[in-house]
Amino acid sequence: MTRFGLSLSILAMAISIPVHAHARDQIEVVGSSTVFPFATSVAEQFGRMGKFKTPVVEATGSGGGLKLFCSGIGLQHPDVTNASRRIKKKEFDKCQANGIDMTEIVIGFDGIVLANARNGVPLKLTRKQIYLATAKLVPDPNKPCQAAWCAPIANPYKKWSDIDASLPDMKIEILGPPPTSGTRDAFQELAMSKGANSFPHMKALKKTDKSLWKKLTRTIREDGGWIDAGENDNLMVSKLAANSRAVGVFGFSFLDQNAEKIRGAIVEDVVPSFDNIADGKYGISRSLYFYIKQAHVGTVPGILEYVREFTSEDAFGEDGYLLDKGLIPLPRQERLKYRKDGQNLTKLSM
């Protein structure tokens, strides 16, 4: 009987574990895996000060984060979401429909680089060449377009030298982020679409049929020239080091950390360096964001203080610790603006 009693009490213990958590005293952050290294650094530093618990940061991707963020007000929903792109109108409307008011903070820039192994040929590209190397459908090289519109053909370029004689005689082999990645979205928008616009008829198409223009300029080739290499950028770096013909597409911080193995391609005559991205000279760079759920300020302790830590000069300033993690700072004026927005909880409207 005692054994039976023991097993009963173990069962009872298992069942009686408190299910509903007490009021949350820990900030919950979700969102982009690009912003993740920065948000975690700030969270750690914030926790180190000892006044509040260290926030929990989860990398769900920009879209996934906004979905969780906009699903409602209440302690089971996150307080802050990170994004490597701006919130879309559709997402914003969904948020509003659920009664969520938010504050938008831009934390800095991130450059997207094309890089290959140090022992490979140094690359010097234009955005037009990047577009021709990566798009599924491109303008026919044999029939320059004179009319208002010419039908594109399947990408005929197999080697870099097919695109331009100045480029190396080497098979096009690009390792890039998969479709779930915000880096890929930004690459498509900033490198491919802009490169496509160097063809006048493509640029004209943007005005007449924007959705077709988007589809044509942002669809990546599927004939083996582009290889989806997964979200793990470290893996990509070691693949590049092992294969001198391959070119990788990823965030600047990985180039920065692995400078002895890989070399960034020069794009539009600009070297992908810290200063060039900060000055806005390097073309393929984007802003990074986070959004604060206003209704949770005051309910979950420490949100304002977390935002203050994130927007302090010590963190996202010109000499801040986020720089060591690869963040490229905003100009001073904008930093002041977002620091103020964060403390006043300026409401975002679209």
Partner: protein, 421 residues
């Protein structure tokens, strides 16, 4: 004579058969050797790449614990980082200018402040005196000293500048550098600084999660198995249940994660990233892995034992509780332990319920935010800092040791309590 030729043919045939058998054996040995070599290579490369993570370089500084940096009334809130950096700067009096001073300060880890603070808190008498104390180097300097970063490379290709190298060489010449076992990897929670990142949070999180898994799946699994094997009538319904349990064992684990998200978090409102939810999800996954071996353990007990007990007048409950269950226990425990070991190595279902997150604090109960070892390893593998590569391998070594320990326990139980008939 005919007999002789017949034997001859037989001999030839026999030799052929022997040859076939030898070949078959050779293939078998070859397969084992290949598998062994691959395993050896894998383990060897992980072990070797994990080695740098188990040691850490320190620089010994003369630290003057004075009022200038420290608020004696409020020790926890004092400027310990400023103190550590000022002590390093004292070694290089000719370093001037804000930029250089900052660069010099960056030789030290963000955790250097903790080294000083912990020492003073442990030795309050040191206030107002000057002490020699080893403090943690930053990850890049540590890697350079370990030779992972090659100092012969041109300056623009390595993360450590020539200036840093000059400072470092001076410190080496003064004999201030020491290399010690990196205890932080076992005592700290997660961190964004590789030299401070530790596995304690993930280890404790794994234990909490497995505790919930055990408490939820063991009683349920064993009860289900007892009923199905000993009590239930063998009819169409029980056969359907049986087939479904076997099916459940083959369901991809991510499906359980989706179920956990929909049921436990969205419907029951349980907290995200908590070992409670993680444990329940893993329990669902482990259930068939307990039920199947438990039933096998019951089926392996000879009917004579049951019949003998019944013969002396035991009730069905008594037969099960007094005779069959104790005899089946080794088999049940082995199944449970192996099921739990599998659960301990699982990441996919935990991704859906938010246990793949950056969590610094060590969890204190089953509703606290927590992560588990495999998730921690995955997150480290994604970090850009070079030093996290070694940390990742070290995490794998710890996880493998844990699994080895668990499986060894299973074997021990089996050998210790096993009965043969």
């Amino acid at each position: 004579m005919t007999e002789f030729s017949q034997t001859d043919a037989r001999k030839a045939q026999l030799a052929k058969r022997y040859r076939a058998e030898t070949r078959f054996k050779a293939f078998g040995i070859g397969a084992i050797c290949t598998a062994g070599l691959i395993l050896l290579f894998l383990m060897g490369s992980i072990l070797i790449s994990s080695l740098p993570a188990f040691t850490q370089h320190y620089v010994t500084l003369d630290i003057e614990i004075s009022e200038r940096h420290i608020d004696t009334q409020n020790l926890a809130d004092s400027d310990w980082r400023g103190l550590a950096r000022a002590s390093l700067r004292a070694q290089f009096p000719d370093v001037q200018g804000r930029r250089d001073k900052r660069a010099l300060g960056k030789l030290l880890s963000l955790g250097a402040s903790d080294d000083v603070r912990d020492y003073v808190l442990a030795n309050p008498s040191s206030l107002g005196t000057s002490v020699r104390l080893p403090v943690t180097f930053s990850d890049d300097i540590d890697l350079l000293l370990k030779g992972v970063i090659d100092r012969e490379l041109p300056e623009n290709e390595r993360v450590v500048s020539n200036q840093d190298l000059a400072w470092l060489d001076q410190l080496v010449a003064e004999g201030r550098i020491s290399r010690k076992f990196a205890t932080k990897i076992f005592t700290n929670g997660d961190s964004r600084e590789p030299e401070l990142a530790g596995l304690r949070g993930a280890l404790v999180g794994t234990l909490w999660t497995l505790l919930v898994t055990l408490l939820a799946s063991f009683p349920l699994g064993v009860m289900a198995a007892i009923y199905l094997e000993e009590i239930a009538p063998k009819n169409r319904l029980t056969r359907i249940i049986e087939v479904n349990i076997n099916n459940l064992a083959a369901v991809p684990s991510i499906v359980f994660g989706l179920l956990g998200l929909a049921v436990f978090i969205n419907f029951f409102g349980m907290p995200r990233s908590a070992p409670l939810v993680g444990g329940l999800v893993l329990a669902l996954m482990t259930l068939p892995r307990i039920i199947i071996p438990t039933r096998a353990a019951f089926a392996a007990i000879p009917p004579s034992i049951r019949e003998a007990a019944m013969g002396v007048g035991a009730s069905r409950l008594q037969v099960i509780m007094h005779h069959v269950l104790p005899l089946a226990m080794p088999g049940i425990l082995t199944g449970t332990i192996i099921g739990l070991a599998q659960a301990a190595g699982e990441t996919a279902p935990l991704l859906m319920i938010g246990m793949m997150a950056f969590i610094v604090d060590v969890p204190t109960d089953v509703t606290a935010k927590a992560t588990v070892l495999p998730a921690q390893i995955y997150m480290w593998a994604n970090n850009p800092e070079r030093a996290f590569m070694a940390r990742t391998s070290a995490g794998i070594v710890v996880l493998l040791s844990l699994l080895l320990l668990v499986n060894a326990t299973a074997i021990y139980f089996r050998k210790r309590f096993e009965k043969r008939w």
